[in-house]
């Protein structure tokens, strides 16, 4: 009997693309509104110098770490240890260069490896023992903070002459753009490519979307879950190195409380903590949004105690813009 014509509704092929676009514009909308408000609020905002400051601040703050965090969040995990690992990165980098006499490139390699190793520990327990990432990464947060304090004996380590090239990098410009910002953009570009164009990225997304489906497709899920924590740890260490390069010193004070900023950047960028949803471009916007908020408050001279209140209100407003622009999303 009766073959039915293929029942694909033509409009439905468009819908997801529109929705996809709206999702983009959710974060982009906030971003643009914020930029407009900021430039009206303070003349100093839209100066080249200030904008370069903001991107450099973001690069050595939540920016780079947010890339790793997005990978983690895509798998439905969370990594609270990033700020502490950045501290380890900063301290260890300065220690290796100043006290141990390692060359800058070698020190950087070792530090990134250390960050990755921290990620291996977290990832192992999360992936293979199926323990909740929140608690395990909280434990790693404490451990890494402790290590950074022990290595530095609690005080800043000046890199001095041997670390000059790192400091040059941290404060230098390339084509008028701060070098740390270029590094950050590069990391985002790589992150975006990995997420979109490699099986790794797709599988990571799939795991957050439906872990069981991925497992049943014969994918060794554990390895991928482990990897995202390794990436996050390694990038946190990179963030620590950038912070050291920017100030010329390694200190265990780096990244205290940074985990919340980093996760906030990812979520303001539209990623879901329930996994499977999020992209690099919006995450970058999310990090920039947070950076701009504190920047404009300093420029506009919002009194200290009120800055907290403004920060909170602006974040809520930002999310409301996302709600309005991306209403149909959920």
């Amino acid at each position: 009997m009766t073959t039915t014509p293929a029942s694909a509704a033509a409009p439905s092929s468009l819908t997801p693309r529109i929705l996809e676009a709206v999702r983009h514009y959710g974060t982009l909308g906030i971003f643009l509104v914020l930029v407009i408000v900021a430039s009206l609020w303070s003349d100093a905002f839209l100066t080249e110098r200030n904008l370069m400051n903001v991107v450099r601040q973001v690069a050595s703050g939540a920016g780079i770490m947010a890339v790793g965090m997005l990978f983690v969040v895509l798998t439905r995990g969370i990594d609270l240890s990033v700020g502490s690992i950045a501290a380890v990165g900063s301290v260890l980098c300065a220690h290796l260069i100043a006290a141990q006499g390692f060359s800058v490139p070698l020190a950087i390699l070792l530090v990134i490896a250390t960050g990755a190793a921290c990620g291996v520990v977290t990832g192992f327990f999360v992936a293979y023992m199926r323990l909740p990432s929140f608690v395990i990464s909280l434990a790693m947060m404490a451990i890494a903070r402790g290590i950074s304090l022990i290595v530095s004996a609690g005080r800043p380590i000046t890199m001095g002459e041997p670390g000059a090239s790192l400091v040059d990098f941290g404060s230098g410009f390339f084509l008028g753009i701060p070098q740390p910002a270029i590094l950050m953009l590069l990391i985002y570009a790589i992150g975006a490519a990995v997420l979109t164009y490699t099986s790794f990225g797709r599988i990571v997304t799939a795991i957050g979307s439906n872990e069981e489906a991925v497992r049943l497709s014969g994918v060794p899920v554990e390895r991928y879950v482990l990897s995202v924590y390794v990436i996050s740890g390694a990038l946190a260490a990179v963030a620590g190195i950038v912070a050291a390069g920017r100030t010329g010193i390694g200190t265990p004070q780096v990244g205290v409380g940074a985990e919340l900023d980093v996760i906030a950047a990812v979520v303001i960028g539209g990623a879901s903590l329930m996994g499977g949803r999020g992209n690099m471009f919006n995450t970058l916007l999310g990090a920039l949004i947070l950076g701009i908020i504190t920047n404009i408050m300093n420029l506009a001279g919002v009194p200290g105690y009120h800055q907290n209140v403004y920060l909170g209100l602006i974040i809520i407003l930002a999310m409301l813009i996302q709600y309005v622009t991306a209403r149909s999303r959920r």
Binding site: S42, A44, F45, T47, R49, N50, N53, Q57, S60, G61, L149, A153, G154, R155, P156, T158, S171, A243, R246, T247, G248, I249, T251, P252, Q253, V254, V256, T294, N295, N298, L299, A300, G301, P303, G304, Y305, Q307, N308
Partner: protein, 298 residues
């Protein structure tokens, strides 16, 4: 020796505190005491817990750098009641509490000296100041900045007969170099006409020095209300950094322990003051050699 020392710090996350811990630990070990150090991680209720735990453990000397001048009062009273010799150091503790003494440098006096030095150095120029504060709601920070402001005001009145001080903005740097750097970057954008940066500690001002360098601002004077961190002293030597107040963690730590130890031995003079200040000074190019030790902990 029955000498068990408990040391509790508001945070271990700052070089100044690290140096203090090292000083107290060394003094305690030299005296043959056993010492336990605890880190309150900026949370005074943690610090209360720590003191409770230490009392339970049976310490007989408590050196406390209180996270809060009021909140720690009940537990300090409890410690004294349990026979512990309590000495506060560095941060203030409400003097109504039962303890032997508090040992610290005088923010007021240091600030006055630093302010005085600034006013003299900048004589004739209207001061446009950027202030770098630690964290909101920190009373120590408040004392430090008010000390400097008082010092400048008083010196200008005395020297010039009028106050010519404008504070353009206040940034928050969480006591750390990168925090100070970020806050200074923003404030220099908003106020390119600034000619003075005053920070509540050296770490933040060190960040501001870099921010100024990056922004190409070279006519700025840098000063901190207190500390004397090695890196800052090195820059004072070079002339890149103006001055800082003398707040020697080593001296404060050692003195605090000595006072407590003497009390334990019953050797402390009965008229020992409840508030004991270590000598104040402003460290500038003129006298930096006296204080600069390249191998100092701090």
């Amino acid at each position: 020796a029955d000498c068990k020392v408990g040391l509790t710090m508001p945070s271990l996350n700052a070089p100044y505190f690290a140096a203090q811990v090292a000083a107290v630990e060394k003094a305690a070990k030299d005296a043959g005491c056993e010492i336990t150090t605890a880190d309150s991680q900026s949370d005074f209720s943690k610090q209360i817990n720590e003191v409770e735990d230490m009392i339970a453990k049976g310490i007989n000397i408590l050196i406390i750098n209180p996270r809060d001048q009021e909140a720690l009062v009940p537990v300090v009273n409890a410690a004294t009641a349990a026979g512990v010799k309590v000495v506060a150091m560095d941060s203030t503790l409400n003097p109504k509490a039962n303890f032997i003494s508090q040992v610290r440098s005088s923010s007021d006096e240091n600030g006055r000296l630093v302010g005085d030095w600034i006013a003299k150095t900048m004589k004739g120029t209207p001061i446009k100041m950027i202030l770098l504060s630690g964290n909101q709601g920190n009373p120590g920070g408040l004392e430090r900045r008010m000390g400097v402001i008082k010092g400048i005001t008083e010196a200008q009145l005395v020297n010039e007969g009028a106050v010519n001080l404008q504070i353009l903005g206040q940034g928050w740097g969480d006591w750390a170099t990168d925090g100070g750097l970020k806050a200074a970057e923003d404030l220099f954008q908003a106020h390119p006409d600034a000619n003075l940066v005053v920070g509540e500690n050296d770490s933040m001002v060190l960040g501001a020095v870099q921010a100024a360098k990056a922004a190409g601002l070279d006519k700025i004077l840098f000063a901190a209300a207190a500390d004397g961190q090695r890196e800052a002293l090195a820059m004072i030597k070079d002339g890149a950094y103006g001055a800082t107040g003398l707040n020697d963690p080593d001296l404060v730590g050692r003195t605090a322990f000595d006072v407590a130890y003497k009390a334990l031995k019953g050797e402390l003079p009965s008229d020992f003051p409840k508030e004991y200040f270590t000598p104040a000074d402003v460290i500038s190019k003129d006298n930096v050699d006296k204080y600069y030790k390249p191998d100092s902990v701090f």
